[in-house]
Symmetry: C2
Subunit: 166 residues, 2 copies
């Protein structure tokens, strides 16, 4: 029997166990800077990139959209660092996560949909699927860690898990 | 007598003394990741954010466009860190910089124009004007440093310096 995942809207509150949602709304702390010319939405994510001689790096990921139905086979996590994704293209995308357990199963998974103007920052050890772009080839700013140690674990599911529709 | 600044096109080569241009082109190192679903444009800027117990922070700046002619009164620099700007809106913007000298004057200034898909990362101590958005209110991802020490110096020009047109 398949496990069917259906997304819910991404919100700061619901995503809080997994990291942070980055979006510009009335809840942000803003500062007027540059002699009034600019609003600074300040320090929008908990970056955790300096452990064990790590350093922050700036990357852009360009992802092809997935086709539905989509079989979920694997998730990954980074024990030593956070990983931030901020969308550049404006297309909705899926965010599939599981909490910090040794071996997540289908019941641990939570599927969110970003409206395309919301980014996410995965906390260290949050299991997450790789980018699940929808509709169009989509670019993302990605802020993560470079360091001397291996910092990516994968978990493959034995169960059949499917995203059928959004 | 006014000093008139006219922009030239931003290129990686011409901007090299001041930091890095971030743009996706055939010169980038890319890696296929995510089981072939994603191209990773890897480590696109020299982030320098960890000096003196600094930490990297992720911000978004929303800038009103300037009106031309525009009088250049002040530049700033950050002795302890780089500062990265990546455009989210796609509008061209101006990048005004001067090299690391004690007191820059009009002759030290170089004015570039970004096509709206090019970001910049200012090296530590590169003098730069605050964001000079054109045409529209423009959002930028900004990666800079939070830390315990003052990390912003300003220099005010005595000469009259004007950007008349682009």
């Amino acid at each position: 029997m398949s496990n069917i995942l259906t997304p819910i809207l991404l919100t700061k509150e619901k995503f809080e166990p997994f990291g942070q949602v980055i979006e510009l709304d009335q809840h942000n702390e803003t500062k007027k800077i540059n002699y009034g010319q600019t609003d600074r939405f300040h320090d929008l994510a908990t970056l955790d990139l300096n452990q064990n001689n790590g350093r922050p790096i700036f990357n852009i990921f360009r992802s092809k959209p997935i086709n539905l139905p989509f079989k979920v086979k694997v998730v990954e996590r980074h024990p030593l660092s956070s990983q931030l994704f901020y969308p550049l293209t404006g297309s909705p995308f899926l965010v599939l996560v599981a909490p910090n357990v040794d071996k997540p199963n289908a019941n641990d998974l939570q599927l969110f949909i970003s409206n395309g103007r919301q980014g996410v920052n995965y906390a260290a050890n949050t299991w997450h699927h790789y980018l699940l772009a929808l509709n169009a080839v989509s670019d993302f700013v990605v802020i993560d860690r470079s360091g001397p140690e291996k910092n990516c674990q994968e978990h493959f599911f034995e169960q059949e898990i499917v995203i059928e529709s959004i």
